[in-house]
């Protein structure tokens, strides 16, 4: 992997560790209200200042990071599992299964992603699971489409032909010979999609469809403090920077993985 990818991985590890260890590092808990010290600019006691309820912004950014990243990770796992199994089925089985799955993929991809995610999330009470479901309901489609194309190409590869010729069962060909070759593709996709999921999660939280107060997420912090942008910019500055940095690192990591694995072209 190239240097950019390595640096992104290090930065991501740092962000992940600090949000997991956050409660140990900041004296004041993320939801602790201190009405004596509201809207204080950054200081030694509060390195990122406090919000309009006197809550420590650093503690909330770390807590928000834990939630935002977990939601994106769960969404990517679910999207991958659904997308991978449908993509494998469509590509390998072909015929009716292929046509039906492909039609469903096209349908989901025809929607502007955020609108469909909004539609799915208003069905459920707002909360963390709702966001995971809403993101995965849209997110499986690109995974399925890419896996399908990949499997189609692999199906005519010479090693698959050889495996069939020596009498492997269809299931064995699929799971032992084709599936392992899809792993790099899945890794690349995961890296590239995580950046987008961080943004979608932030957008849904910003719209009030995600975590409910007082739970902190990066998107909801920006939404709650946006009226304070002029008087206490530090309350919206840090969560936004964290979203951008995290998404940038995931995108760069995805790009590097893609180069590392040879642009995601299937082997012949």
């Amino acid at each position: 992997m190239d240097l950019t990818g390595k640096i992104s991985a290090v930065v991501l590890t740092f962000i992940l560790c600090s949000s997991l260890l956050g409660p140990l590092m900041v004296a004041q808990g993320p939801d602790v209200i201190d009405l004596e010290g509201i809207r204080k600019p950054p200081s030694v006691r509060h390195p990122l200042g406090t919000d309009s309820l006197g809550r420590d912004v650093l503690a909330r950014v770390l807590e928000g990071g834990r939630i935002s990243i977990s939601i994106s990770v769960f969404s990517v796992i679910i999207s991958t599992l659904i997308g991978l199994s449908l993509g494998l089925s469509a590509g390998y089985l072909g015929g009716v299964a292929d046509a039906v799955i492909l039609a469903a993929v096209d349908l989901v991809l025809a929607f502007p992603a955020l609108l469909l995610a909004i539609g799915v999330s208003i069905l459920l009470p707002p909360g963390l699971y709702t966001v995971v479901i809403a993101i995965s309901a849209v997110g499986w489609a690109p995974f399925a489409r890419l896996t399908r194309g990949y499997v189609l190409a692999l199906r005519s590869a010479s090693f698959v032909e050889a495996a069939t010729a020596v009498g492997c069962t269809r299931a064995r060909v699929l799971f032992v010979h084709i599936l392992p070759h899809c792993i790099p593709l899945v890794l690349v996709m995961t890296g590239l999609k995580m950046g987008g999921y961080i943004l979608t999660e932030a957008a849904l939280s910003f719209l009030g469809l995600g975590a409910q107060p007082p739970q902190a997420t990066w998107g909801s912090m920006i939404s709650a403090n946006r009226v304070l942008v002029n008087s206490c910019p530090w309350t919206v500055l840090s969560p936004g920077v964290m979203i951008a940095v995290t998404a940038i690192c995931f995108n760069l990591l995805g790009d590097s993985l893609q180069i590392h694995y040879g642009e995601g072209r299937p082997p012949r």
């Binding site: 025809a110 539609g119 919206v236």
Partner: protein, 310 residues
């Protein structure tokens, strides 16, 4: 030509049916009586009865869906729970604002993105290329609702150059369009870079160089002309993401378009409003993609040849 348009239009029908089927399923799954979701909570008894007759739950799923389609076809999307105004009327009034915003964002993003992408491709792996790639990734990764707030903080609240929010002339339009244009320009610059690099590796560019044509002329006459086609397509196909961005950008800047309308609907759980925005937004995007496809066909002779006998 006619055949191609016909075939492409034929594909549009199942797509629109599928989309409306999904929105119909969503509408039916919403908490509460779907008839009220379509009619509005304060609708008159006759309206409720009329709609119940069309999509009533006593009928089969297919006829309920048919009823839903015929309601949509007549522009009947119910009334807002809160204002009791017709959602269709509200959307009609607000759509032009969103359209203006999206178009001015495209006008900003297109030259910026193409210029950056072209420069990056010409200086492949140089400092300019790396810098532009970095800026593009940053542009793609920054949430619009945050970059919008930051632009507002800098340009309107601190420097007082533009009004912070409201709907109106160019002074109001500038910051929200810029906010929307930044991620779009980032996408465009990446696409342009890849396309231009692709074209520069083709045989006809090598031929042009071999016969002693000036690089500047090659770049403009051969590379640019051929690169523009995929770039325009991507711009068109990317309109869905403008709509995504519009929901958030319009909210930040108080721009009175469909996006802010949707956001208000979400805040108040005003289901007819939300569903109306989703239906109209999606259908508009699908239709625009369709038009872009046809445009592509008109512009690129290769598609015309291969497209007609496919």
């Amino acid at each position: 030509m006619k055949l191609y348009v016909l075939r492409r239009s034929a594909l549009l029908v199942p797509l629109l049916l599928g989309i409306t089927f999904i929105t119909f399923t969503l509408t039916k799954s919403l908490p509460g009586d779907p008839v009220y979701t379509l009619a509005g909570e304060r609708a008159s008894t006759e309206t409720v009865e009329k709609i119940r007759k069309e999509i009533g739950s006593d009928k089969g799923l297919a006829s309920q869906y048919a009823g839903y389609i015929s309601l949509l076809a007549r522009g009947e999307m119910g009334r807002s729970y809160y204002t009791n105004r017709k959602v269709a009327d509200d959307l009609r009034g607000k759509f032009p604002h969103t359209l203006v915003l999206a178009l001015s964002a495209v006008l900003m993003a297109f030259p910026l993105g193409v210029l950056l992408g072209f420069t990056a491709a010409l200086r492949r792996n140089g400092i300019a290329d790396r810098l532009i790639s970095a800026v593009s990734v940053a542009g793609l990764s920054t949430p619009v609702f945050w970059s919008g707030l930051m632009l507002m903080l800098l340009f309107s609240l601190r420097l007082k150059l533009f009004p912070p929010s409201g709907t109106g002339g160019l002074r109001y339009l500038f910051l929200p369009s810029l906010t929307l244009a930044l991620p779009a320009a980032a996408t465009l610059s990446r696409v342009t870079r890849v396309t231009v690099l692709d074209i520069m590796g083709t045989a006809y560019i090598r031929t042009a160089r071999a016969k002693g044509m000036k690089m500047a002329k090659i770049n403009i006459v051969h590379v640019m002309k051929n690169a523009l086609i995929p770039i325009i397509t991507v711009t068109g196909l990317d309109l869905g993401s403008y709509l995504n961005g519009a929901v958030l950008t319009e909210t930040i800047f108080g721009w009175d378009g469909i996006g802010r309308y949707a956001m208000e609907g979400i805040m108040k759980r005003d289901y007819p409003v939300i569903m109306g925005c989703i239906v109209v937004g999606t259908v508009v995007v699908v239709l625009i993609n369709f038009l872009v496809d046809l445009l592509y066909f008109l512009v690129d002779p290769r598609v015309r040849v291969h497209g007609s006998d496919r």
